[in-house]
Symmetry: C2
Subunit: 328 residues, 2 copies
Amino acid sequence: MLIRGVLMHHLVKDLLAGNRRAAARLITLIENDDEEKRSLLKEIYPHTGKAFIIGITGAPGAGKSSLVDRLLQQIRAEGLTAGIIAVDPTSPFSGGAILGDRIRMQDHALDAGVFIRSMGTRGSLGGLSRSTREAIQVLDAFGKDIVIVETVGVGQSEVDIVKTADSTVVILTPAGGDSVQTIKAGIMEIADVFVINKADLPGAERTATEINMMLDMNGEKPWRPPVLPTVSIKGDGVDKLWEALQEHRTFLEDSGKLLDVRRQRVRRELTEQVEYLVKTRIWDEVRDTIELDSLVEKISKRQQDPYSAAGELLAKINFYKGDHGEGG
Amino acid sequence: MLIRGVLMHHLVKDLLAGNRRAAARLITLIENDDEEKRSLLKEIYPHTGKAFIIGITGAPGAGKSSLVDRLLQQIRAEGLTAGIIAVDPTSPFSGGAILGDRIRMQDHALDAGVFIRSMGTRGSLGGLSRSTREAIQVLDAFGKDIVIVETVGVGQSEVDIVKTADSTVVILTPAGGDSVQTIKAGIMEIADVFVINKADLPGAERTATEINMMLDMNGEKPWRPPVLPTVSIKGDGVDKLWEALQEHRTFLEDSGKLLDVRRQRVRRELTEQVEYLVKTRIWDEVRDTIELDSLVEKISKRQQDPYSAAGELLAKINFYKGDHGEGG
């Protein structure tokens, strides 16, 4: 255990020294929810906060991967380094097990300035959004200038994951004119930049117009998301996307919003950590004190309700001087 | 406050007496996370546990609504009553605001044996899955024999929602042969019955064969999900679906699995209630004791990490004798 802890500590040292294998290993430990995870993240934390985090989301087939690849070329051409986390909430695979990502990684295998990692859901979505945030911390401490979180889909789950980003790009396609109708209110709110990919297909302009109209209806905002056409397989428009992201970053920095957003993220993190500790200790205590099975049995038989039972359980372990809730 | 409490109590009495408006009002209070919610659910709880809960999930356009409508006819023809909760995690609308559901409700408006309600996400997915579970309790206590939870999509979020059901139906369509490829591992595991809807379209048989093959690869299981063709707009195959659901119910009851599944659900409910009470009280205490803003500021500046800060915060409010975690 102690020896393992020492080895773990070396992992963080190696990460900070720029060792790719250490980065990969740390993300795997995070994904597996290793017991050392929290102490590793604690060590990593002081070295974070430098990377700019870009979230990219869009429906399957919208061309996310190729757009990210093009963006990557742009970022590298500017002399910046990048980490990519490709999140697929619907996939049980992770750790580069997806064929497409393996190919992508090979493309950049010789470029020390790029680190690509894919993550799928092994448990709950909450777990995935948590490990994504932690993987970002690793790549941030690893020294990557830009961390891109690429996530499939446009549902609530993706919104949660994308909340971690400083700037969020929503990718749509003109295909069938369907896309605009399926834009969810939540997605409208999270987009800092809209991209109409496959803009060489018919309907692209109409899609752009519709989004612009929706944005106009939203009223005056300090930042007005641009709507940009791209053709990711050719690389068309990717320079403009990069420009827009730079502008948004400048806006965030100049307006003080970047600090705000990051402060909110810290608050969320602190909240989660507090609740994690509380839960862990409460259940440790409960396990030592309460016959949980018989309580469950009693509730199952409707001899008690779970609301009163919860209050009584906390009273039994003397949680806050035994002042148990009335369940109301 | 007191008067309100008395009125609320009447609501539960009215629900138990079969008043539809009381059922609708209670679900709205749940959706709005009304402060009286927990005390209402506590009152409702002893009257639950009688309904059989069927979860139905499938991609948008798979024909869920029309299949559920046909199933409803079948259920009514058997002399049973039913409650339907139509969940759309991607929709910010709820409470019957969706046009389609309003039309559906009108169809059954004169039938006292049917209650239909749609729910969308107002906040987090976790919130939606919680209020869905609570709405089921209301319809169960309301005396409905069958409660159907119909949910859009086949992602992790739907899996979470469907976990509440005793029997789960996964609807697929033969369209393009795409469906089978997009079945996620999680979905394979939750299905008790597979339906190939629109079975009059080409490729239906191939889709069924592929699913059967996947099921065979899964090895011997005490329950082997049947794969049933339906044409929901014509009503074809719906009788067989109802039969399969009856068989599954009998299997659950005879094998003791129904009790197991419901015991697990009670345990989850108890856990959530305990954690809810704990969190509420911890944050009340923190609010009175700690300068949270300055702590967030300190962490934002990387002068402290959120992991140690969480432990120190709990020590300050004397959570469990001040034995604060090492954050490791």
